[in-house]
């Protein structure tokens, strides 16, 4: 039972992180029908920025919760700015082009950002400090759930709920849903498409950065390549849930996290990603549009 509980928690933690990144994928896809391959890199940049800011602050003598807060806020802001700029440079000029051109441009951007961080920083793994300060409350529940697991699950739950509320009840959320449904029609109804796209990228990138900081302090080390794997997994999660669907991304991410966690726990730890991908293929054979995806049945 205890082993099962550990695996369940591990899956939940993993799934929460995947969900944070998958939301960015699915939101961008919903609006632009673009697989944003550079999204994983934004996540990596978020983690790096947090590491740099946190180290500088620590060396200047700051401690405790304030380091986490400042580093987190700066990293999220920076990643949002990166997401915004990436869209303007690599995707906006290609909005009228065929579907594959922005995809290649996205792959190019991903390679570019990876190497940019590698050249400017280092290609080695960097230790990431544990930013979560000790507290009595976390200690008291530590026999049930580890502190970082708790923080990760809590944060992503809060973020996901607020994102859903934002999309459902604000004017911007309405505009975003309208743009995802039909861009031309939204334009006619007076929605500023460029702004909606920018905001989508900003929100998606902020979520990715948050995921980056959380996972980095959970795992304890980062390098310039972490974005690729996380990005692929998150994309898998988004597709699993039905790409373009926001609840689908959350559900898909949790399912993927569970599949990986239980697969590694009960079968073999060497094939962690294999379980995720095999699970994806299995689901898609039976439900070709993902778990919650809109059916793409064509009609003439």
């Amino acid at each position: 039972m205890n082993f099962f509980w550990d695996l369940f928690l591990g899956g939940l933690t993993r799934g929460s992180i995947y969900a944070l990144i998958a939301l960015g994928y699915t939101m961008v896809y919903g609006i632009l029908q673009l697989i944003n391959f550079a999204h994983g890199e934004i996540y990596m940049i978020g983690a790096f920025t947090a590491l740099i800011v946190a180290s500088v602050l620590t060396m200047k003598g700051m401690t405790g919760l304030s380091v986490l807060m400042v580093a987190g806020v700066v990293a999220v802001l920076y990643s949002a700015a990166y997401g915004f700029t990436v869209e303007k440079i690599a995707y906006k000029p290609l909005r009228q082009a065929s579907r594959l051109s922005p995809l290649i441009s996205a792959i190019g951007m991903s390679i570019f950002l990876q190497n940019y961080v590698m050249l400017a920083q280092t290609s080695d793994f960097l230790p990431f400090p544990n930013l979560i300060p000790p507290s009595d409350f976390l200690d008291s529940i530590s026999h049930l759930i580890g502190p970082s697991d708790f923080i990760i699950i809590l944060t992503s739950a809060i973020v996901m709920i607020s994102l859903s509320l934002l999309l459902k009840f604000t004017k911007m959320g309405k505009a975003m849903r309208a743009t995802a449904q039909d861009q031309q029609m939204a334009l006619l109804a007076g929605v500023n498409i460029n702004r909606v796209i920018s905001i989508t990228f900003i929100i998606g990138s902020s979520l990715a950065a948050l995921g980056g900081i959380l996972i980095a302090s959970h795992v304890g080390r980062i390098n310039f390549y972490i974005g690729f794997n996380a990005g692929i997994k998150a994309f898998t999660a988004a597709v699993l849930g039905g790409i373009g669907s926001i609840p689908g991304a959350m559900l898909g991410a949790l399912a993927l996290g569970m599949a990986e966690s239980f697969g590694t726990g009960y079968i073999s730890s060497d094939y962690e990603s294999v379980f995720a991908f095999a699970f994806l293929i299995l689901i898609l054979i039976f439900k070709p549009d993902g778990i919650l995806g809109r059916s793409s049945q064509q009609k003439v």
Binding site: I35, V53, V74, S101, L119, V274, L280
Partner: protein
């Protein structure tokens, strides 16, 4: 953020007398924004072990200057481009006319062919090897072109077929001692079978679902190869793979490089011939119809299942062959050669070349493989330049270097006028 949104060409006429002030102002904004953006990663370097921070202020100045200049020239380009659009189209068709003129392309072909024949005898061993790699990528590009360019099936895991080819050569040779010439078709066949295996479950999927499933298959294959030590020798790979034999005559490594070069030239010609014939065959036209509209294509009586599987199998065949040749060339393979980056590279070749265009794929493969090899001076900056180049080419030529010209029938008025 208005500096991004305004289209400079709109204003260019009314503020023309102000010369460059508008551009300079906007470029300063861009430069400041990018300096701010790159600041933490470019300037600060922390060493968490010794607890020191290195501030590299000179970098930020470079970024500022470079982005200012780039943005300035970009805006000048936009201003110039706006009224000249018609001229660019004219030039384009002129270039195409050149290519279609027998007086031009026949001598050009002869020159290229003779260069290709003489090349291995004047070039160094290293250069032959580089060229062989480029030829392998031409094959891969042409093969993927069947799937992506013709049939419109976005395959992000093409490298899996390449890996199947390479590993089937290496493993069958290791276990059964079979030779290159038996295993070349065998590898191609196995890859084709694997293509059908991948194709079967994804028949119902379309577009990006297909993309992720192919990617998933490739990653699964790579991970299995990496972890199943008894079968594939794990991450350490397989070494001492024999080079292709020539009727049992022993060859030095230099000679065998030349030999492999000629095998590849022959196989590339075969690939080009087969794909050219396929393109205009019944199945080729079915693929194009499927790419354009699946529903309409089914309504025309095309068996979608068969067409899709044929595209996967034929695309995989060339990758399998290329894989065998790759294993024979390097004599050592391990799973690290078959990562997603490789798939992305091949896809980039197809899209950069212009989807569906044979000549475009060849040009792009040569450019993508040869340029980085000869830019070894910037070895650290190779990949970052590659990434930037992908973005730039896509922005300037979203249709690829040489977009395929659609076959069309033209109605000539003159014929009718003559008769009446």
């Amino acid at each position: 953020m208005a500096f991004w949104d305004d289209h400079p060409s709109k204003k260019s006429k009314s503020v023309f007398h102000m010369k460059f002030t508008e551009e300079i102002k906007r470029s300063i904004y861009v430069a400041l924004w990018l300096m701010l953006l790159t600041f933490p990663i470019i300037v600060i370097k922390v060493n968490t072990i010794d607890n020191v921070i290195i501030w590299r202020w000179s970098n930020i100045a470079g970024i500022g200057l470079a982005s200012f200049l780039l943005s300035f020239f970009w805006q000048l380009y936009l201003r110039k481009k706006a009224p000249e659009k018609g001229v660019a189209m004219e030039k384009e068709s002129f270039f195409r006319r050149l290519l279609e003129n027998p007086k031009i392309y026949r001598p050009a072909l002869i020159i290229i062919a003779s260069c290709a024949l003489v090349f291995p005898f004047i070039a160094s061993h290293y250069q032959i090897n580089v060229m062989t790699t480029a030829l392998i990528y031409i094959m891969l590009g042409l093969g993927l072109n069947i799937e992506v360019g013709l049939a419109g099936l976005l395959d992000l895991g093409y490298v899996a077929f390449y890996a199947v080819g390479a590993y089937s050569y290496a493993l069958l040779n290791y276990h059964f001692g079979l030779g290159f010439w038996i295993l070349l078709p065998a590898g191609a066949l196995l890859a084709a079978l694997f293509g059908i295996l991948v194709g079967l479950p994804v028949l119902r999927l379309s577009g990006d679902y297909l993309a992720i499933v192919t990617l998933a298959f490739a990653e699964i294959l790579r991970l299995v190869l990496e972890n199943w030590n008894d079968f594939s020798f794990g991450p350490s790979g397989i070494s001492n793979i024999p080079r292709p034999g020539l009727f049992g005559i022993p060859l030095t490594p230099e000679q065998s490089a030349v030999y492999l070069y000629f095998i590849l030239i022959a196989l590339c010609l075969l690939t080009i011939f087969v794909i050219y014939r396929l393109q205009h065959s019944r199945i080729g036209r079915a693929w194009v119809a499927m790419r354009e509209d699946e529903l309409a294509c089914q309504a025309m009586g095309i068996d979608k299942t068969k067409a899709k599987l044929a595209a996967f199998a034929l695309g995989a065949t060339w990758a399998g062959m290329a894989g065998v040749l790759f294993a024979a060339k390097t004599t050592f393979i391990n799973p690290a050669s078959f990562t997603f980056l490789e798939s992305a590279m091949i896809l980039a070749i197809v899209v950069l070349g212009g989807m569906g265009s044979i000549l475009g794929v060849i040009t792009a493969a040569l450019a993508i493989i040869l340029l980085p090899e000869y830019l070894r001076v910037f070895s650290d900056y190779r990949m970052i330049l590659f990434g930037a180049a992908l973005i730039l080419v896509m922005i300037f030529r979203p249709g690829g270097l040489m977009a395929e010209k659609r076959r069309q029938y033209q109605f000539h008025h003159t014929d009718i006028e003559d008769k009446t």
